[in-house]
Symmetry: C2
Subunit: 519 residues, 2 copies
Amino acid sequence: MGKNETPTKSNSERPVSIKIDERDNVAIAIHSEGLQAGCRLDDGTRAIDHVPQGHKVALADLAEGDPIIRYGEVIGYAAEAIARGRWIDEARVHLPPAMPLEEMVRGDRPVPDLQPLDGFTFEGFLNADGTVGTKNILGIATSVQCVAAVADYAVRRIKQELLPRYPHVDDVVSLTHAYGCGVAIDAPEAIIPIRTLQNLAANPNLGGEVLVLGLGCEKLKPQRLLPLSNPAETTIIELQDEHLHGFDAMVSAILEAAEKKLIRLNQRRRQLCPASDLRVGLQCGGSDAFSGITANPAVGFAADLMVRAGATVVFSEVTEVRDAVHLLIPRTGNEAVAKALTREMAWYDRYLKIGGVDRSANTTPGNKAGGLANIVEKALGSIVKSGTSPLVDVLGPGERLRTNGLVFAATPASDFVCGTLQLAAGITLQVFTTGRGTPYGLAMAPVIKVSTRSSLKRRWHDLIDLDASPIATGDGSIADVGWELFQLILDIASGRKTTAADRLGLHNDLILFNPAPIT
Amino acid sequence: MGKNETPTKSNSERPVSIKIDERDNVAIAIHSEGLQAGCRLDDGTRAIDHVPQGHKVALADLAEGDPIIRYGEVIGYAAEAIARGRWIDEARVHLPPAMPLEEMVRGDRPVPDLQPLDGFTFEGFLNADGTVGTKNILGIATSVQCVAAVADYAVRRIKQELLPRYPHVDDVVSLTHAYGCGVAIDAPEAIIPIRTLQNLAANPNLGGEVLVLGLGCEKLKPQRLLPLSNPAETTIIELQDEHLHGFDAMVSAILEAAEKKLIRLNQRRRQLCPASDLRVGLQCGGSDAFSGITANPAVGFAADLMVRAGATVVFSEVTEVRDAVHLLIPRTGNEAVAKALTREMAWYDRYLKIGGVDRSANTTPGNKAGGLANIVEKALGSIVKSGTSPLVDVLGPGERLRTNGLVFAATPASDFVCGTLQLAAGITLQVFTTGRGTPYGLAMAPVIKVSTRSSLKRRWHDLIDLDASPIATGDGSIADVGWELFQLILDIASGRKTTAADRLGLHNDLILFNPAPIT
């Protein structure tokens, strides 16, 4: 149980609902059978309706227009009179207007730093530029989709014919994508996909030894993908090269260049590194009402541990931060960070408006079925992942990390786009919380999947790495699960344990964020 | 040689340059060594500079601001005085303003129909809805990127374990993509990716037997992907289904459903069909100055043959039609088609403007190196693919074919996006012309790659299916190569011959056109 969470118990002393904050006028049904109509909660409320698991029950009589409060914050207004004990279905909640960004002030309270945490280490691959990888991967970057099929073909051959001879190399990954040509490469927003591709090639898990595959006539010249940190170690092969006579010659050239890289990568060994060399991305997907009660608070606890240990922790998902950003602004380390945060929110407000939509475009049918009424409730549960430490930097989409500590990397909330942009930021491991369940994974970094409820962990026994549901049932505290996750991060970053996604080889595609036109 | 093309010859009687239209004041250097400075063309022009292959030489003295004329059309204005015999580099050509769409009139001349062409057939797979496939593919459609890795895993297993037992099924293809969740699904333009996915699942090469793989909580419900033509034959599997306990159970469920489809698909046989059942898409990529001289005119000739035989021919690429649309408007079959064509052009003008760019965003470095100065010159050479028949219909991006004859399907010019949208339109075979060379291919339909110059065919001997270069050298006419292509289309549509891309298994990803925001 979290320190602020009050479970209510039925007569049998088994908690059946959970109230997060003292000020809340709703509680959440804990168990898979939900709350039965007629059952009595600890505060005396008697359920009038059946309330499905993860959904909200009213703890007070609400008049039409009354605020509905969860996490101590207004998540919406009653669309009709709601009697105490009724199920608060999403249709009974009016979405409040977005808080105006210009009214948010940082204040001048100093943000307290957390107590340092010493002595934690992991075994990683130290790179020439000082970054540390959690894997030792040969990356084949590509400048354009035109070469994707050749890249994939070559990777299959490299894995079959070469990789077995280089046992200290973990994997060979082609960085294929939809960009590179047929795009407005000089459009103002084209900087986003371009720097994303540049920074993906520089991800620490690729060891600065990237091979770049290009076509020759594309708009995005392969030379632009050279990792800035280590250009001398990068090889470019262009399929239109006059010396490459036919497909076999192309593949031979790629295999030959790949083997040179494999020889170098194979000489590397894991070495003991302080936990401060970790770069961990946080994300949630397929969220439900438990995300903000179990998995995300546990991740927030682990995030604080990592920040205390000096590591870099990245959270993202603009549309799931927008409606809780007033809680983050006071945590920014200085005025410049606060301004950068509101700048990214404003950029996205505008981007959605140009497309004829607004923030209500977030929340999925699955979110709603899982008990999340709207984007405000989702956002409040989402930012819990960030823990309590000061926010020290804000990155635009596709930008690269430049400091340790807690960082907000502006990305869409789309799982696969966020994952791709966090890899570009330079994360070497990701923690992903899910309530509904998704087989999500990334080829370039391990993804630890944390379930919000036990039913998912039982059903997806081989796809979920850690279950945070004991927090809701009272069988474990946020601190317990948070420490367990922190230890698991160190184990997986060290190669001592393997994630479900890596064990099964389930890796999503790299999906770029391209707000610029295609031509 | 085309009827309007005048090759100029050097003293050795070997043509060294080609002039397309009587009105042109430029000619194109034919051979790989280009035009040597000092060499004399047939019309008396003496080359002052070395003119690279595919590039333009001035046939008259031009003052600054004079029109530069190719294909009998103004492709730009001289940026400086250009003496007769000089190389007209792209820097010497000012882009003319875009022609205002509202000033284009169709006129009331009747568009002459071409003479019917009878007696041509191919052997295809007849579907229940009357369409005819050129392949017999088991398609696994997906509603969201979340399931892409599971779909790909399942397809590998199906190909290894099941497909060998069903020899009359050509392939198993997963239709994975970047859409489905984390998107503004109610945005006005979201209709484009949604109908694209719906219509991809209905492509005739999938035989109406699609298996749909979904997650369960995504915004794009898998039910929306049921092919309208044959919903009863479609099976949906959702990974979040409560009966699927873990990854192995998911894969088993997919394999079991796939086998039922394979049994049905395996009973199908090719049967003789009239050529009017063909649906052929036309595209060019990696274009050069020869595209408009050799490959595209040959394709245009073949397009006329197909239309005369009653088939459906689709051309696309809005940004490569925009600057030549005044030549297409008079070819529209009626006023409604003319209006639809200008509507699609106007939509794209606006789309580019919102993104802060204009039509000059098309043309790639490779186009320019290949001698194409700008988008006007590229567009004039591009629309040659459409032949001379009346334009009978215009589709918006992702819409499905509804008539035989010559159809314009509005798509971006991006090779992989255009290919995906033409598959959604329902093409069952594509003809792709290329000057610079690309290993492009589609998993769902055969792609015949036609080279514009012999050097590419020699170098990429195993990647190019047909070489159109004899048209430039005078070794073959447009009609010769056009007929050869027409016959090749019938052979490949019948499964008698195989394209290079299919032989090597080179297939690009499906890349959707999503002008709506992601969230």
